[in-house]
């Protein structure tokens, strides 16, 4: 087995991983960085983000506003001290990206432009047309090329962490092109492997978003926090789940039911006005909008299509010119994938799974409870999203906490003692053996595609927009069964070169573990909060019992153990989450009272 000795190894080269790598490289050029990614960095799913990234810039805006929007948006399940740090760092990180070349959209005077986004009181979403994630990712990737100390392992699949002497000390990776293993030794490991949306059926995520890092950390005893909170995005393409960005609504798009009625006004988000108003109607938060869809569907007011019920995203009144300028990619998506010209016809949309709020438990400095292991980005739970993430906070998170994770890992790596290489190698060889056994065994009978399909259908029915104890229980039982069946999986492809059959099997193993953590965390949260909404007697938020983070602990072949951790409240006490006119009223009262 080949061995590469690094100071810091970063798994994942999406926005978070790249930002971390650059932070390490800038902090000390002598540190050797290994940057591992199962796809070429620019293929990472950050590339798909459309709408924008948050950062306070306008003079009538403030960190306090951004803080309040984030904490209330997260239904008070946020670590408020971490949110404070986050909102204060966002603008600087956005400017940093600007200096690195990110083509932010501009105002006529040359300053960066910002747009409105769901749940945000004031426009503070930086954007690069409707390809913000794409531009951020390419900017970060291309900038990372400047640093010779970053050694990339592109198309290398991380099979496991190497934990020795109670510390994360490296990773074992598979070179996809050859199927050969490499041990990367390091003083610290950063996980930046992204979300896990693919455990659901209809989702906005790329094929690679399979929760690998979450599962790896989890299997090594690091709890997964708040996994029951999975965000549905209200405006996705039926069937494929592809996303129509929230910016469609930020620019003034309407959501209409089958009667052409802006139904959101019936769900506490009104009044309906022709111009977009922040935190009202179509610019309400995603959980509320997805829930409203569900209710409309129950009332039979959605439009029935071949790929499920839909409502209409109406952009016609914006006109072709504005659409082409502000939402060019959306225009093309609708046109090419659906054959719908959004300037002439409303786009059929429905909610789909979009984002995993929970993730690897880390503190405000991105350190997990396992010494030497750090996490950043969607795979982590640093505590800023709570029970529901606000759009555009995630891209900003990648930069703010990618940097923190990199710096902290670098500092840790410098100080940490290293175990003997031979010990680490022995571990890596054990990983290799175990991973290869998936392929070499000949007695498996379970098909990967079948297991995956059953898992996704289970998650959709058990952990959807609204949840019930019995369907959640059924989902938990089914996932137990699927995990058992997975141990009997069959891999047809026995070759070494680019064996995606093998990699898909490993990913499925990761996904099943993550799905199980989600389902059990959901079942145990007996209240409704943010993206976790129940209809079985627990319709209300229950701060007395559940103003706390859930923690899922890995338990081998058995079910995960769920317990709870405290939520850091500094100055914002839980209150009613109100939007639209009601929200404004509540805010006024709070200010005067």
């Amino acid at each position: 087995m080949e061995v590469f000795k690094a100071d810091v190894v970063i798994v994942g080269a999406g926005g978070a991983g790249l930002r971390a790598a650059i932070a390490v490289a800038e902090s000390d050029p002598a540190l050797k960085i290994a940057l591992v990614s199962k796809v070429y960095p620019m293929r990472s799913h950050t590339v798909a983000a459309e709408g924008g990234s948050a950062g306070v810039v306008q003079s009538h805006d403030s960190f306090e506003h951004h803080f309040n929007d984030t904490v209330s948006g997260g239904d008070w399940l946020c670590e408020q001290d971490v949110v404070d740090y986050f909102v204060a760092q966002c603008p600087e990180e956005m400017v940093q990206l600007e200096h690195w070349g990110c083509p932010w959209s501009r105002k006529p005077d040359g300053h960066v432009n910002v747009r409105a986004f769901g749940g945000m009181k004031i426009e503070r979403t930086w954007f690069a047309a409707d390809k913000t994630g794409f531009h951020m990712l390419h900017t970060l990737f291309q900038t990372s090329i400047k640093y010779p100390s970053i050694k990339r392992f592109d198309e290398h699949f991380c099979a496991d962490l190497i934990v020795e002497d109670g510390r994360a000390q490296g990773v074992a990776v598979i070179e996809i092109a050859s199927g050969e293993f490499t041990l990367i030794e390091a003083g610290a490991v950063v996980l930046a492997t992204g979300g896990a949306g693919r455990v659901f059926r209809e989702n906005t995520n790329g094929g690679i978003v399979t929760g690998d890092g979450m599962a790896m950390a989890y299997r090594h005893g690091v709890p997964l926090r708040d996994m029951e909170f999975v965000q549905y995005h209200p405006t996705c393409m039926p069937g494929t789940g592809l996303l129509f960005t929230e910016a469609c609504r930020g620019e003034g798009g309407f959501l209409l039911n089958k009667d052409g009625y802006r139904y959101l006004q019936d769900y506490g988000l009104g009044p309906a006005e022709p111009e977009p108003r922040n935190k009202a109607m179509e610019l309400g938060p995603r959980d509320r909008l997805s829930q409203a869809f569900w209710h409309e569907q129950q009332k039979g007011r959605t439009i029935e299509g071949p790929l499920g019920s839909v409502v209409h995203l109406d952009l016609r009144h914006l006109g072709e010119r504005k659409l082409r300028e502000r939402l060019p990619q959306i225009y093309e998506l609708a046109d090419e994938f659906l054959g719908v010209d959004p300037a002439l016809t409303p786009i059929p949309v429905r909610p789909a799974v979009h984002y995993t709020m929970g993730g690897i438990l880390v503190d405000g400095r991105c350190a997990s409870p396992l010494p030497g292991l750090y996490a950043a980005g969607e795979c982590s739970s640093v505590g800023i999203h709570g029970a529901n993430r606000l759009g555009s906070n995630s891209l900003a998170e990648l930069c703010v906490f990618g940097k923190v994770a990199g710096l902290e890992a670098a500092a840790f790596a410098k100080a940490a003692p290293r175990s003997a290489s031979a010990t680490l190698l022995r571990q890596a060889q054990a990983v290799e053996q175990k991973t290869r056994a998936l392929v070499t065994r000949s007695d498996g009978t379970e098909r990967i595609a079948t297991l995956r399909r059953e898992m996704a259908a289970t998650m959709e029915s058990g952990c959807g927009i609204y949840r019930l104890a019995d369907t959640m229980q059924a989902a938990c039982d089914k996932l137990d069964e699927l995990r058992a069946r997975f141990r009997n999986v069959r891999i047809e492809d026995k070759s070494s070169v680019w064996n995606t059959n093998w990699l898909l099997a490993i990913e499925l193993g990761y996904q099943l573990d993550v799905a199980q953590a989600m389902a059990y965390s959901a079942l145990n949260r007996k209240e409704s909060r943010g993206a976790h909404q129940r209809l079985d007697g627990f319709e209300q938020r229950d701060d007395a019992h559940f103003l706390k983070h859930s923690l899922a602990h890995y338990n081998g072949e058995a079910q995960p153990r769920i317990d709870y951790g405290p939520v850091k409240i500094t100055r914002s006490q839980p209150a009613v989450r109100a939007y639209g006119a009601a929200g404004e009223k509540a805010e006024k009262e709070a200010r005067h009272g």
Partner: protein
């Protein structure tokens, strides 16, 4: 009755095939199916051993480029309805060595990307405290189109000059090089000129133009390459007028 469509996929498994061979699959056809979805169907239901790259499904990650009926295209935004009744032939991207099945070796491109210095070399350095550089929408427009390259390599598969001479830096990387040169914040054009004007640089291009024809993101790489011929030529002749350090 459910309709079906035939796909002919170029297979190459280095551990068992001496050279690529076509394999035929018959699968159910629906109106909304992309070529990528068809391949995923094959992989899930018919043949687990077929390998190909994909991820985003929405024409932005650049993974899924392949030859579809002889033309370079993104499989996730090529729809079977436009190719019905088929058969549809799918092959690995031209001009790159095939690693396996539809997967090509793309290290050469990555290597070129690294050589074009694809990052801002500041004209006037600025600290974070000074805030953002000012850039008007008109200045943004000068390079924006070239910055939307998704590195899908379709243009390389389209460019015969790259096929004939793999040393040629090629359309995609040169478009990105031009993207930085054309950015009002950047002052690195002179530094990048060495590669533009080198033997592996822009003059390999004979203005075939097919690169821009197939580009799924309207980058127009042919334009970037050819604009730089003019710049390189100017620089070349100026270097005679001002022999030492004449580069400006």
């Amino acid at each position: 009755m459910a309709r079906t469509i035939t796909m002919e996929v170029l297979r190459y498994r280095p551990e068992q095939d001496a050279e690529p061979v076509l394999q035929t699959y018959e699968l159910p056809f629906t109106d909304d199916m992309s070529v990528l979805q068809a391949l995923l169907h094959i992989k899930d239901e018919l043949d687990e051993t077929l390998s190909f790259r994909w991820s985003c499904r929405m024409a932005i990650c650049g993974s899924c480029g392949m030859m579809i009926n002889g033309k370079p295209a993104l499989s996730c935004k090529t729809f079977l309805r436009d190719l019905y009744p088929g058969p549809v032939r799918v092959e690995a991207l031209n001009h790159f060595p095939i690693e396996r099945d539809l997967v090509v070796v793309m290290e050469d491109f990555i290597d070129k990307l690294e050589r074009i210095q694809p990052y801002i070399i500041p004209k006037a350095p600025r600290t974070l405290a000074q805030g953002e550089y000012l850039q008007t929408p008109a200045e943004l427009e000068k390079y924006e189109q070239f910055s939307s390259c998704i590195n899908c390599l379709l243009c390389y598969a389209a460019c015969p000059q790259y096929g004939l001479n793999p040393d040629f830096v090629g359309p995609g990387a040169l478009a990105l090089l031009h993207r930085y040169n054309a950015d009002s914040r950047d002052g690195g054009a002179a530094q990048r000129m060495e590669l533009v004007a080198a033997e592996e640089g822009v003059f390999n291009c004979t203005a075939v133009g097919y690169c821009s024809e197939v580009c799924p993101k309207h980058v127009d790489p042919a334009n970037a390459v050819n604009q730089n011929k003019t710049t390189a030529a100017r620089d070349y002749f100026l270097s005679f007028l001002m022999p030492k350090g004449g580069k400006k």
